[in-house]
């Protein structure tokens, strides 16, 4: 089984290598004439007058948390879908109960307005 993963490992390293090599190549081939105006961050022609980092509404985090919860749910669904034939009706029903519990949560989210983007 691990034999199959060897090419992947090598490919990942090659992928990183290709990117790095091209970046270095670009630096070698390209000109470099720095200039304070050129190097300043893009701001539609204005001087930047404020820090980039800003606070966001809590609402954003809420959607993010809900997303993580559903992502975990998907992690549970994948092996289930693969072995569905073998685990039979019992396995199917156990997942339907799992989904039912989470659908309760989904309905709750929906009606509470957590899915609205204001």
């Amino acid at each position: 089984m691990l034999d199959n993963y060897l090419p992947i490992l090598i490919f990942l390293l090659v992928g990183l290598g290709v990117g790095t090599a091209l970046t270095i190549l670009g630096r070698l081939l390209s000109t470099s004439r720095p200039d304070p105006q050129k190097n300043s961050p893009y701001e539609c022609g204005f001087e930047a007058f404020e820090d980039t980092r800003m606070k966001f509404d809590v609402r954003y985090y809420l959607v993010a948390i809900l997303f993580i919860i559903f992502d975990l749910e998907i992690a549970f669904l994948f092996p289930w879908a693969v072995v569905l034939e073998d685990i039979g009706v019992f396995g199917f029903l156990s997942m339907m109960l799992f989904l039912a519990i989470l659908i309760v949560g989904f309905i709750y989210e929906w009606f509470q307005g957590a899915l609205e983007w204001e």
């Binding site: 090419p7 090659v14 091209l22 670009g26 004439r33 930047a48 980039t52 204001e118």
Partner: protein, 351 residues
Amino acid sequence: MFDWACTLPLAGWACDLYAEQRLLRIGLGIIVLVVFCILMVLIMVYAERRLVGFMQLRKGPNRVGPFGLLQAIADTIKLLIKEVIVPTNASPILFLLAPILVLAPALAAWAVVPFGDQLVLADVDASLLYILALASMGVYGVIIAGWASNSKYAFLGAMRSAAQIVAYEIAMGFALVGVLMAAGSLNLREIVLAQSGGIHQWYIWPLLPLFFVYFIAGVAETNRAPFDVAEGESEIVAGFHVEYSGISFALFFFAEYVNMVMIAALSTLMFLGGWQSPFGGEVTPAIGVILFFGKMSFFLFCFMWFRATFPRYRYDQIMRLGWKVFIPVTLVWIGLMGGVMFFTPYGYVFH
């Protein structure tokens, strides 16, 4: 000639591999795949500009080479020799690292894509999961780019790309669950083989709603129009890569197109029977690869078509579509599939 090296500690395995030529095969495979990606991107860039030009009653590139065919190569050379500007307030290392981190997973995902029954570099069992995982890593490049640039536009772009994932990844995952239920495997080769027997066996028919959800989510994941809110050149100039130029910009560009080809390839493998012929029966590997490319081109065409046709989605619309339309649709379909498979005699429809 290298015999002496094999006596060194740790080097023994390299010699063993060399002896069985495994490393050589892997190396060749990787080179083929990388060259394939580069070629595909060059063709895509040219084709897209011509096609969109055609749709918008323009000419598109037609000066460099016959019919402008060499335009993409000219652009590559231009980008290679242009200056890479690192903004004053940026974190230089992360700034240069970001495009590399976008490119590496985009390339490495191809390791498990089967072009034919035997034509796959690494036939791992959980290949679909592996591609998903790598795709989700690509977002780091975008985020790092947005943060390291230290520019408001770039930051907003990165922010939006995270919202994008939040909106679509779940629907995409649910859609894939349907495919897995039908095929009973996470392995792409086995998923294709489960669709053998002709066009009526392809999963696009029984899983039509899931197919639409998947493809739309795929378009969103590659940050393509109409879901290109992370770039949104008319709103936030160029989003996360506003500060990038030269080769670093080219890497982002390259990765985006490689990802696009990947989504097209996955859609082909999972819904259109991969390399299989629509009339059933065995095909030779060469014909299989041609069929695979043919099906893939259709999806790639769709990508360009969307770009030429649709206006950009608004933020709240993206959210609503992802959470309130796609998730219920996919959930209902999964339940329906399971119900039909277990409690009615029509389960064969989904196999």
